[in-house]
Each structure stands twice: as C-alpha cells, then as structure tokens.
Chain length 211, copies 3
C-alpha cells in the first residue's frame, strides 16, 4: 500500500467518524450513523472525481471504501457514549481528515491534469466538501463559518505537497510534509484560536431591510 | 413499458409532487412549484447517474421526465388549496417515491456494476437525495433528522430487490416485493412512529462551548 | 472573444463577487472570500457540465476561470468596507450574473443536445445554482424563497435566447436580447417588487403537528 493509498483510506475513515459523531449529536439510529459516515467520508472525493471526469467514482470502482465508512460508523455508535465531548472529538478528527485529504485531492488533481492550480483546487475541494456536506445535512452551522483558520489549512497542505512534487521531491516526503503542514495550521487554529484578519467587520443587515 | 420504467416515472412524479408541496408551504409562485418539483423529482436520479458515470444524465437523454415534473407541479398548484394538510400529504407521497426509487436505483446500480454493495448504495442514494435536496433548498428541517425510520426503509427495499435478483427471481416479483417492503416499513414508521434505538441520547453541546 | 465567451467570464466574475460579498457579511478572512467567490462563480456552470457529461468541467480545462474568481474576491475584499449596503449590491450583481448565465447555460445545453427543453433547463440551472449554493453554504435564507421573481427571469432569458436561435437569429442578437430580457425582468422585480401569484397562501404547519 503506497502512502497515497494509506492517506486515502485514513481520510475516509476519520471523515466517516466525524459524520457518525454528527449523527450521534442528532440522536440518529445506527443506519443514520452509517448514512452520515458515508456521506462525510466519501463526499469530498466524490465531488473531486466528478469534476475531473473520473467516473464511475472511486467507491463504485472499489466498494471497500463503503465498508470502511460502515466500520467507522459502528465504532462511533458503540463508543460515543463514553466521550466527554463529541463535538471536540469531531473537530479534531475533522482536522486529521482535512490534512490527509488535501494531499490526496491535490495528488489526484495533479495526476489527472498536470496543472498546479487545479491541484490546489481539488486538494481544497476534497478536504473541505465532506465536512461541508455533513454540516449542511445535519443542519449545523458550517465549519466554514467559524472564525478559526480552516480552508487556509487545506490550501497550505495542498500547496506544500504540490510545490514539493513539482520540484521532484519524492512522493513520500512531499505527502508527509503536506499532511504535517496542514495539520499544524489547523491544529494550531483549534488550540490557540488562530485567525486571519476579516475583510469587513460590519454586521450584516437583514435582507428585508435593503431591497 | 417495463415495471422498472413504470417505477421510474412513478418515482419522478410523486417526488415532484412533494417538491411542489414544499413550494406551496413556502408560498412560491408557479415557476417556483415547477423548480422545486423538478429538483426533487430528478435530483436523486441525477446524483445516481453522475456517480455511475452514466452521463448525459437520464433527463437530458429523455426530456419527458421534465414534463412529468411540470405536470405534477401543475396538479399540486391547482389543488393544494383543497388539501387539509399539505405536510402530511407530502410525507406520504415521499414514502411512495422512496419505495419506487430505492428499487429503481438499486436496479441501475446492479446493472451498471454487478455489485450488490453498489446496488444498495445507489438504491438508498436515489431514494433519499431528492427529498434531502428539497428540504435543504426549502430551508426545512431535513426528513433525515426525524426520528421515524427513513433511510432504513430505502435500504430494506433495495436489499430485498437486490437479494431476490441475485437469486434469479424474475424482475417483476423482485421489484414488486422491494417496493412493498420499503413502503410497509416507511408507512409503518409514519403511522405508528416506529424508530430504531438511538446511539447516544445526550443533548449536543453548542459548538462554542467546547473549542 | 465571442459574445458567449464574454458572457461566460462576465457571469463568473459577477457571481464570484456576490460570493465574496456573502463572505464579507459573514466576516470571513481573505481565503474565505476566495472560497465563496469560487463556489458561487463556478458552481452553476459546474453542475451544467456535470449533467451534460462535459467533463472534466470547464474550470479544470481552463484554470483562468479560477483566477477570475480570485480577482473578484480580492476586489471585494479591498472595497467592501466602502459600500453602504453589501446586500443590495449582492442582489443587483446576482441579477447581472443571472442574466449572463441563463443565456450561457442555454447556449451550452442547446449546442450539446439540440433540444430546446434541455436548453431551458440548463439555462435556469446554470443561472440559479451558484446563488443557491452561496446561500446554502452561508446559512442565509435562499434567494429562491424570496417573493420577487427570480427563477422566472432566468427562464425568460433562456427562452428568448433559445427561441431566437431556433429561428436562426444571429448569435449576437439572440444573446443580447436574452440577457436584456432576463435583466429587465429581474431588475424590475427587485426595484418594483414584481411577483407572480402564489399558489396557496395558507401558512405551513409545523411538521410535528401533522404526523
């Protein structure tokens, strides 16, 4: 198993676990856990494959990914009661998944097109869309809307991987450094509340006030 | 017209009607009814075709589906005022659509890949995504979040169809039994409030408490 | 550059700006502006290309679109503070984008399939989906739910373009008249509150009352 395959399964498994934790917060049944785990685990990669035209998408070609999601869901189903804070666990797992998936997504985009710009975008897309879908379907405020650095961490991880690969650094080092960069940035943001400056801090007016 | 074609049009028509009922609840105009009817009617099948790589998707190949959605929207537009409860009608129609579409989706997934796992997933996907999209776009709490059995009914319908087909039961019996199983499970859940046990009943904490 | 190429870049740029304005209203950082600008700018066209099977999608084939989105995001990031009402600016820009994109989407659908029905649908889809995605991801009430005419304007623009093209009116006139029709309808709706009659004005009941 290459490092990219390992990152792929690791990303699916931890994103799936965050989906199952969202299902737990919403008091769903076991099938709800599996449904949310699958949508979150394979959502980002599905969108990546669709825009690249790599269809049938990866989990149709290899249903093992679905079993990984189901397994993650079962582990969470059986253990969530023992967690002190499901949400804290969710956001930290999401950080691990983001770090694995921004490199995976960039690698697939780079392999498919040779374009560094596309690699950055597919890296960010793959890393963020599973979590965005999870929050949308659960009706929770999107992780995108929180002030701590999120998309930026995926962009940095994808950028480090893509840059090193273009300089012909071996795949294993480029991947590892990409994952570590993304995780340090996102983890630091979670732990120390790192943010970037906001563009315009005025409160939004209500739509009805202004038409 | 084969039983699968019949289920396909029936699924589109009844899901379209649920979309139009959501439009009615939101006080939209006639174009809004048609828009919601179309998104709900063809949304699940569109996602199924995209992940299978069966593009252009079914309603581009055969625009008759769009006319079915428009027709359903018009019927609801002209008759919704006479309904006692639009929401109750919506969820029961949704149950009919779910039952038709879990079999249709499983049949397409099985025909395209031969994999029973894929058939279960495309069955569930096709059956649930139209309703999920409808609720998301209407800004209503997702039917996924309600306690009564929902995804499970689609999984059972897809499983009965796929299992019987793999044992070479003729298509018409496998389809009919799949539809009936799904409808009995979902209908019973609606009527008697059937649920499966939840994994972890602790209330969710607010995200801001725990970071 | 043909008129369709011009409309394409113009649609991407103005939709991207509306995404950046939504990011501004949500107090995101500069990467958040670029993320929202890109999702809104290329979202509708991405869905159009996916359902038509035109993959890899347009911005993978030509990453210049992503630079246009980034540029729009930067302009908004640097200037939003000086705007009196970001939301009013957002809805008017959205009207411009809608008008450009309903024609672009209809042109692509017509070229790919020759079907007028498909052209209408891809026109509406391309014109509305970027804004729908933007509102969904930002957690704002969807522009679809507002009473003023919206989807109808896209449908009229796509219809004018498609009808004139089928009567062999030269592309430049058909395009210009399509854009102008859509903009007049949407602009009039914004300025004068134009609406179409609603189907059923009864308030929705709460889902829990009726199951």
């Amino acid at each position: 198993m290459s490092i990219l395959e390992f990152l792929d399964y690791a990303g699916v498994a931890v994103f799936a676990a965050t989906g199952a934790l969202a299902a737990s917060r919403k008091h769903l049944d076991v099938i709800g856990y599996i449904f949310f785990a699958s949508v979150t685990g394979i959502g980002g990669g599905t969108l990546r494959d669709l825009v690249l035209g790599a269809t049938p998408v990866f989990w149709i070609e290899n249903p093992l990914y679905l079993l990984v999601c189901t397994g993650s869901a079962m582990v969470v189903y059986l253990s969530a009661r023992r967690m002190e804070s499901r949400y804290r666990f969710l956001v930290w797992l999401d950080a691990v998944g983001l770090s694995a998936y921004c490199v995976m997504g960039a690698a697939k985009g780079l392999a498919a097109t040779g374009s560094a710009t596309v690699a950055l975008v597919t890296g960010v897309l793959t890393a963020t869309c599973g979590g965005i879908l999870r929050d949308l379907l659960a009706g929770e405020p999107s992780v995108l809307m929180r002030p701590e650095i999120y998309v930026t961490a995926a962009l940095i991880g994808a950028g480090v991987f893509t840059g090193l690969t273009l300089f012909e650094v071996p795949m294993i080092f480029a991947s590892a450094l990409g994952v570590i960069s993304a995780f340090c940035v996102r983890g630091g943001a979670l732990k120390y509340g790192w943010t970037l400056p906001v563009g315009d801090p005025r409160p939004p007016r209500h739509p009805d006030d202004v038409l």
